[in-house]
Each structure stands twice: as structure tokens, then as C-alpha cells.
Homo-oligomer: 175 residues x 2
């Protein structure tokens, strides 16, 4: 048993405070690569990953996301210097499941790369909007993509918190 990898899966925690400096290209590529190797239905690789490191674009996404939350003053991306957006091709029946597996792999790989990360929701609403569709077009992304989630990345400010206790009755046995 690879205890080291098992512990990593248990130790990953969401990070909501980031240092301002950008992550290295090596760290970014390690995380993104693990995302692309996530399982997908029949291996059809329905998702795509958009790496956003341009501050102006991150700020625009942050504002759109806050507006969808109904709180324009919010800072949903927590100032993280990198935002990975996962979208998936809705013509493939398993696209929603596939996109979530990419997201989970990105979060776990971030932990393995020593980075802080957090899943930020509302990608679906973002890329259903005219503003979101215009961004996809600007980025050269064509097709029927649904927003699955944002994985924000950066160096953690402060310590990794301890996990909350797992709920009772998480696991049932039939044997």
C-alpha cells in the first residue's frame, strides 16, 4: 500500500488565504497534468481546463462570480494568483461526472505539489451568461461547454487546518 498517497488524499484541505506570488511553471504543469489524467466515461476526455493567470481576467471572473452569489462585494477567489476553470462538453453523456473527476484530481494534485487550492462553484452560471460565452470565444474555445468548477491555486497563507470530523453513518456495509 502506498501510504504516502493515501495520507495525501486524507490531508488535502481547502485553502481560503493565499500569498500574492505566482506559483512556478513546474507546479502548475504538475497539477494540470494530473487533471488531464482523471477518469472519464469510456475514456472520452470530455473536459477542458483553462489556466487563468492574467490578473485582469481573474478580477473579471471574481466579479462575475460575486454577482452570481448575490454579493458583489464578495471576493470568491480569495486573491489566488492562478484560477483553473474546468468545463465539459455537454454532448457527452458523462460530461458532468468527468468534469468533477478532473476537479478532484486538480485539488489532490495541488496538495501533492505543496500548493493551497479550493473548489469555487458557480462556473455553470458564469459560462451560461453572455459575458462568460464572450470570454470563451475570446479564448478560442468553441463548442458546447458547461462550466463545472474553478480550482484556485497558490501558496497557502497560514497553516492547513485540521479536517472536520467525518459524519456518522458515512459508510454502510452489506456483507
Amino acid at each position: 500500500m502506498n501510504q504516502n498517497a493515501l495520507e495525501l488524499l486524507e490531508q488535502r484541505r481547502s485553502c481560503r488565504a493565499y500569498r500574492p506570488e505566482q506559483i512556478t511553471e513546474e507546479e502548475l504543469q504538475a497539477v494540470v497534468k494530473a487533471g488531464t489524467y482523471a477518469p472519464t466515461g469510456m475514456g472520452r476526455q470530455s473536459p477542458i481546463i483553462v489556466v487563468v493567470q492574467d490578473r485582469e481576467t481573474i478580477d473579471a471572473l471574481n466579479q462575475m462570480n460575486a454577482a452570481i452569489m448575490g454579493n458583489p462585494e464578495a471576493n470568491p477567489f480569495y486573491g489566488a494568483p492562478t484560477v483553473l476553470i474546468v468545463l465539459a462538453d455537454k454532448n457527452i453523456p458523462t460530461h458532468f461526472y468527468d468534469g468533477c473527476c478532473v476537479m478532484d484530481n486538480l485539488l489532490n494534485a495541488a496538495e501533492a505539489a505543496g500548493l493551497g487550492s479550493c473548489w469555487i462553484h458557480r462556473a455553470r452560471e458564469e459560462f451560461e451568461s453572455a459575458e462568460g460565452k464572450a470570454l470563451l470565444a475570446k479564448w478560442g474555445i468553441e463548442g458546447d461547454y458547461v462550466g463545472i468548477g474553478h480550482c484556485i491555486l497558490g501558496y497557502r497563507e497560514g497553516d492547513r487546518p485540521a479536517p472536520a470530523p467525518r459524519k456518522e453513518n458515512y459508510v454502510y456495509y452489506v456483507r
Copy 2:
């Protein structure tokens, strides 16, 4: 960087041929634990995991699953000796995303534990049916649970195949 864990995320492959013997309790618990530590929206832990190791129940699920496929002669669980069913509480808005993260963690943990695994779909249809609802009731599971997926587990028969090449344009950059 934890190269070992990163490689594991890239090396995991679906397994579709299993040896008949049951996995050890230690292996099972390692996989299940990693599932319970998957990220969930606001840490609400909306999923549950049902561990099925009873041959009769696995055969019944296999038959239901094959019928949903439209091919009653199929063997969708490939004879795996353990089936983990992930369901999620539909009253929690992020339940679908949460359940998929549990599934992905289970698959990655199986790889870390040296086991073969595969995501088998059609859990939603299974547990929407009267037969599926009767099984949940029999297992003592109450509430509004939606089937997310089955993670089948066992010892791999044969070698782990090489991964298919990743598609072009999996990753876009905005920077």
C-alpha cells in the same frame, strides 16, 4: 513536490478483469477512508458510501445494471468481489459534485492500495427504481439519496494498460 502521489494520479487506470478472491479489510478501509475525506461543498459531506461484498447482492445489482443498459446478458461489474456505491443527499445543492469527488477519491485510493477499480455508471437509474429504493430501505438508508456511481474493487487480472494519449487542446492558457 510529492512526485510519488502525482505519478499515482497519472497512472490510475480502469480495471475490467478481476481475480475472484476478496480484498483484505485493510485495503477496503484505506479506500473507503480516502473517499470520506473527499472535498464537499462547504464541508457538508452530502454523500454516503455503501460497501457491498455479499455475492448475492452484487449479482442482483449487476442484473439491475445490465437491464438499465438494455443488455440483460451483460456483466457490468466484471465479477469484482467488492462494489462501493456512492449516493448523495439531493437536498444539498452541491450533492452531485460532492458525490463525484468521493468517487474520484475512491478510484485514486484503490490505485494507492494496489487494487484494480472502475467507475460503473447507471447508479442514478438503479436507485430511482422501486427495486433500488427497496434495497436502500433494507440496508437502513433513509433520506433523499441519488445514486452517483459504483466503484468496483478487486485484484487486477492481467497488467494495467498504458493510458490512451491525452486529447489535443485539453488545456488552454490565459496569461
